[in-house]
């Protein structure tokens, strides 16, 4: 006897007219709330995304490039490094190769007596320019040249400031271009170098380093044709895994790692902590959203209690009435999502124009659209539940009670 057809159609019919002719302020307020909750759920994500991107870019530009090749198991050096560099340069998809040789040293500023023990890295400046970006972040002086023998390039944090209380890390106490520093090598050689340039990448690990030419280090250490690591630049960071397997396919027996494999441990924990905070913020935002949407929907439905009573009196099933409210909430969620995405893009645009300077550099926020999509789905589910409860409650009331309002 009971007819069950037309459920969705009649719900949609009522929902469309309710949206078109209902209270505009309530509709706009609800859409705005959903949009703001979406922004709240994703704001930290876009900042974290920016931090991760910035960190990754710095790792790629100054530390690891796209692929890093390390000595074989139980070996300290890559032997026949020159030959390997030559082979790597011939592999399709390789845009640049540079070999690094590093050794532990103590650098002293003879003027102030400050000294720092660190790993001094050497490279061939011609090769290095094709792989890393040091030449672009020289803030004073010049980059190293292939023939330099008594010149050193040092990071801004290692150089330090005259007023050492301003230093973020222990430094040489304000070394400038043209000053001389003394480098004591592990093999006992002590040599004076002129500071040729000071670079600043804004990455603390990188800016507390120092570089000399490979020829210079080879002459001091009496080595040749060895390296502690070889950096390979490919087409893009995303293509690094493919390039890794291409290189391995060419018979390279050294350890071949992508930049992401190499850098996981360093900032990984920090990123995980930030992601945890982000998840907590999302949950809080969802709880706030569900409460607010529940209140707005509840008031909205209570205000329409009489209308619901009328619809029931003339024979419209309560499931159809509930369905119409759920469709309205879905519409509000869809509009809220669109407004929210526009707001997020607006924030990203504003923060791209007026970049925030983080300690590690200028941050360009990055929207993670998979996270945005996930938050939209969550928001829709929460909104539907928040709307369903009061809709069911009112639609389930006795007709005459509902009609009294």
């Amino acid at each position: 006897m009971v007819h069950n057809g037309g459920f969705g159609r009649v719900s949609l019919y009522l929902a469309v007219r309710s949206i078109r002719r209902g209270n505009r302020s309530t509709l706009l307020l609800t859409i705005l709330i959903i949009a703001l909750v979406m922004v709240l759920m994703n704001f930290l994500s876009i900042i974290i995304g920016g931090v991760v991107t910035l960190y990754n870019d710095q790792m790629i530009d100054y530390q690891y490039s796209h692929i890093i090749i390390e000595p074989r198991e139980k070996q300290t050096y890559i032997s026949n490094a020159d030959g390997l560099v030559k082979r790597l340069k011939g592999i399709p998809g390789v845009y640049g190769v540079t070999a690094h040789l590093s050794t532990g040293v103590t650098i002293t500023n003879p003027n102030k007596g400050n000294f720092q023990s660190l790993s001094l890295v050497s490279y061939n400046p011609d090769d290095e320019q094709e792989v890393t970006q040091f030449q672009r972040v020289i803030i004073d002086g010049d980059d190293l040249s292939k023939g330099d023998t008594d010149q050193i390039l040092i990071g801004a944090l290692l150089a330090g400031k005259e007023d050492e209380s301003l230093d973020k890390l222990p430094s040489l106490g304000g070394v400038k271009v043209g000053d001389r520093v003394t480098v004591a090598y592990n093999n006992g050689v002590v040599k004076s170098y002129r500071v040729k340039g000071i670079y600043e990448s804004l990455h603390a690990l990188i800016d507390h380093g120092a570089y000399v030419t490979k020829n210079e280090m080879d002459s001091v250490l009496k080595t040749s044709d060895i390296a502690t690591e070889i950096l390979v630049k490919g087409k893009s960071a995303e293509d690094a895994p493919d390039l890794k397997y291409t290189i391995m396919g060419f018979g390279v027996e050294e350890k071949v790692k992508t930049w992401s494999e190499k850098s996981q441990g360093i900032l990984g924990d920090a990123i995980e902590s930030l992601n945890l905070i982000n998840t907590i913020m999302k949950v809080v935002a969802l709880v706030v959203a569900s409460v607010v949407i529940f209140i707005v929907t509840y008031i909205n439905i209570i205000n329409r209690k009489k209308q619901i009573g009328i619809l029931k009196a003339i024979g419209i099933r309560k499931q159809i009435i509930e369905g119409s409210y759920l469709l309205q909430v879905l519409f509000q969620c869809a509009c809220g999502a669109v407004v929210g995405i526009l707001m997020l893009n607006g924030i990203v645009f504003a923060l791209t124009i007026n970049q925030i300077r983080f300690p590690m550099g200028y941050l360009v926020p990055v929207i993670d659209y998979s996270s945005v999509a996930f938050s939209i789905v969550l928001l829709c589910i929460v909104s539907l539940i928040s709307a369903f409860i009061p809709a069911r409650q009112v639609a389930g009331e006795e007709i005459l009670d509902a009609m009294r309002g």
Binding site: M1, R17, R21, I310, A313, I316
Partner: protein, 226 residues
């Protein structure tokens, strides 16, 4: 057509039970225009609500045609209201978010009939009640009398077996009340529509075929129109 036997309705007011209907037995034939009259609180609206399936009686039986409606489930009662009954309420009870034509068409739309067919039927009924030119207006743009005519059009659109009207003229002036009552009478006479209407205005009696007087929840008197 309508058979009511020993109908009782008791309301629980806290710890006190209040009997609104105390054993009502009536019979209404198809095509009758019956008025239920009585003083305030006599139980006339309560009786109409039980007959119209808007409320459930405490005991007794109601048969509409051959269906004993007191045995229907909530879903079945909803469906029965939609398919077989029409309502006109004191405060018009129109849906503010629907325009005039949509308000009239909504009982047909709820039956899952094609929208065009529903709108055509609505326009036809609106023409009968003289409001076709107002079909696209929202209900708040109409006068009280016009809103009540829309309400009557909505009650008629499904060709219901019975129309229940609960003091439909209570919020109208005399002129508009006459328009509404004339409309009811013409529907009753021309279409043979069964109408059960609650009223407390003595001058409405001239429109009814039969008047059932109710007092303190029991039938006090039944009178045929003179």
């Amino acid at each position: 057509m309508i058979d009511v036997v020993d109908l009782k309705k008791v309301y629980q007011m806290g710890l006190v039970e209040v009997g609104a209907l105390k054993g009502v037995t009536i019979h209404i034939d198809k095509g009758e225009f019956v008025g239920i009259m009585g003083p305030s609180g006599s139980g006339k609206s309560t009786l109409l609500h039980q007959l119209g399936l808007l409320d459930t009686p405490s005991s007794g039986t109601i048969r509409l045609n051959s269906t004993e409606i007191t045995r229907l489930s909530d879903e079945e009662r909803t469906w029965y209201r939609l398919m077989h009954l029409g309502y006109v309420f004191q405060d018009y009870a129109l849906v503010s978010e629907l325009n005039v034509m949509e308000n009239v068409a909504i009982p047909m739309i709820a039956q899952d009939r094609p929208i065009d067919e529903c709108y055509e039927a609505a326009k036809s009924v609106l023409k009968e009640v003289g409001l076709l030119e107002r079909k696209d207006h929202l209900v708040y743009e109409l006068s009280g009398g016009e809103q009540q005519r829309v309400s009557i059009a909505r009650a008629l659109v499904n060709n219901p077996e019975i129309i229940f009207a609960d003091e439909p003229c209570a919020n109208l002036d005399t002129e508009n009340s006459r328009v509404v009552l004339e409309l009811f009478r013409s529907v009753n006479k021309d279409l043979g529509q069964t109408i059960v209407m609650v009223s407390h205005e003595p001058w409405h009696m001239e429109y009814f075929d039969r008047i059932i007087f109710i007092r303190d929840g029991v039938i006090d008197e039944e009178r045929m129109r003179e």
